[in-house]
Point group: C2
């Protein structure tokens, strides 16, 4: 003890036990976690090298391969939120000087640009107005022009609600000898994904959207082609926490200690994935599509329109145009404070122009739509 | 939907709901979380910009200042485990070419060396046999020799159980105009710390040890001196996820979205910290000291000895010498499988030579000691 120094109590808050309102989370995420997932999370932690935990890690790996439809050996959950998994793809794939071509049609495309720059990439961009997507022809032209080492695209742009079609993009990348890196944060679970069929080399996601879990443990996968680039690199990955050379030895058969995993979040993730495997991906995807179509119809019924062309709308996240003369922020605040319903506002180009409404995982239910529409009717009528 | 591609069910594991044995976690961490903490964690998530959540973030900041005994404005929890918080200190403080001097007397000193190298530091080391600590004179000589921009020390070496005294080190660092960076992963909560009194500029910790929470949201703090270095740097921080320029705008009054925080882990952390503030730091520290002294006495009573000199032993983690002729790994396995008690093995120089026994947070109780000693008596007698 240090009897010479006295304890300073100026920051010793005396607060009551946690009281948090119960919200219906229909924004861009987090969505409400499935009750069974919360229950699983509540299990007392064990050690990160406990045989019981190592077995659970193997199950998570297999189930992630299932929801992503990939055979990639290196398919894991990183110990951070979706942005950490995003950074993990960039950090491990990018070597200083690499040309990284990013398709930017929203906020998260820009984030990829920022991250790739930090890892020394020669970053190039192609852009589209927010809410639109790139055609195969546009991508071919861009690959011809920039000859990148990596093409990075956002499958589901959380800021716009647009779904970037990926069929044929992997073949194109092979033709131009580059890796295909894809953001599936708002698609995994809720939107059909066939990583291997589409030739995706690196992908990342999160737990708190389509998978119906709390945030904090985030799916990451890389293909044998991406692994080869990693193994050939001259320098260490410039990020210790997310270095797949180290992480693969913890998730692989060696079980070399790397960091203390967020044990309880892995309990949760395992349960979220288990529930999807039990229901089956086809049913899970169809449910998301069916419920979002119900949402679109009901929104139209109360006179609202959608920002994204129907063909490219995500089943998980819808951008709803704020009618002229309506204060979008005030409406969102009212929904939260008076109805305990969260919807998101617009970002960047769409700030002030749209609400973002998510129907993801456990929240993709007709009841969510009914509850939101009833509240919207009332607040918009005022 | 993609009717042309059929879903591959080869990774569709059909598994039962989670069943995890209940362990008494007396290794180097995680420790068992306090039951009230698990209960708080189980609250349904809200959004990361929900006013209810932002209020909770403020409470966490204040309570972290209390347990660390600092007034640092930038005191937050990063959205990853302790290693992420460690990397956050290095990433934000280190500019390419900076001389970073690391005191290495265990595994985590070496990890700091590895990390600092990845951020372009000119890394120098001073070393001690594992289990020993550096004197002020030795530190002065090293500062004179290396003239570093940053001196990095491990307050509580999780691999050895040694406590590095920090009194006077901050003054020394000011004399030599360098920042003092300190690992408090295994000390925060359980070991007296006076960050401001000691002149520490950067510190990090974890949630799953002295604070009695599950792992995954990790304390980080930096002083105004360290902030000044950050603000003056020429290049972006080479890590987007842990960039304090961005994170401080989310934790500060601006509330600019950065990433989706692991909401439920913050619920847990808030409760863990709240319980400490309720009990009071002095009592909390004394409890750790009293219980570990009871452990030492009981270990001696069954003929075991400790690796670290008494003066420098941590109250949170004890390295116990494995007696000659005893298979340490086999004993640990037996404790786990037959008694549901986890203790850790040795790392690096101490591999095969010690067990690591933690009494941290909720687990720092006489009952933990009794349960361990009773089991050890039996397995060692066989």
């Amino acid at each position: 003890m240090n009897p010479t120094i006295s304890i300073n109590d100026s920051h010793r808050l005396q607060v009551a036990p946690l009281k948090i309102p119960t919200r219906l989370l229909l924004g861009p995420g987090p969505a409400n976690a499935h009750p069974a997932v919360l229950e699983a999370m509540n299990t007392s932690p064990v050690g990160h090298l406990d045989p019981a935990f190592l077995g659970l890690m193997d199950e998570i790996q297999s189930l992630l391969r299932y929801v992503w439809q990939t055979d990639n050996q290196l398919t894991i959950a990183v110990s951070g939120t979706g942005s950490a998994a995003m950074e993990a793809t960039i950090a491990n794939a990018t070597e200083p000087g690499d040309v990284v071509l990013v398709g930017v049609a929203g906020y998260f495309g820009n984030r990829l640009v920022d991250m790739a720059g930090r890892y020394g990439a020669d970053v190039r961009t192609i852009t589209k107005p927010w809410g639109q997507v790139f055609s195969l022809d546009e991508l071919r032209t861009a690959l011809e022009t920039h000859r990148p080492a990596i093409l990075a695209l956002v499958h589901a742009e959380t800021s716009t609600g647009a779904r970037q079609p990926l069929e044929g993009v992997g073949d194109l990348c092979r033709e131009f000898n580059c890796l295909l890196l894809v953001d599936t944060v708002t698609s995994l679970g809720g939107v059909p994904i066939f990583l291997d069929e589409w030739g995706v080399d690196l992908a990342y996601s999160c737990s708190q959207k389509g998978l119906g879990c709390p945030p904090g443990a985030s799916p990451f996968t890389m293909s044998p082609r991406a692994m080869e680039k990693l193994q050939k690199r001259q320098n260490k990955v410039a990020n210790w926490y997310l270095d797949m050379n180290l992480l693969s030895k913890y998730w692989g058969t060696e079980r070399v200690y790397h960091h203390t995993a967020p044990i309880n979040l892995y309990y949760a993730l395992r349960e979220g994935l288990r529930l999807i495997a039990e229901e089956g991906l086809a049913s899970y995807w169809q449910r998301h599509q069916k419920n979002v179509e119900y949402l679109w119809q009901e929104l139209e019924n109360i006179g609202l329109t959608m920002h994204v062309e129907r063909e490219f709308r995500l089943p998980t996240l819808t951008t709803v145009c704020i009618p002229d003369g309506v204060d979008g922020k005030a409406i969102a605040r009212q929904l939260l404070n008076e109805y305990n319903i969260e919807v998101g506002g617009g970002l960047g180009e769409l700030a002030g122009k749209v609400w973002r409404v998510g129907l993801m995982g456990f929240n993709s239910r007709p009841e969510s739509v009914d509850q939101l529409i009833a509240a919207l009717r009332q607040v918009l009528a005022k």
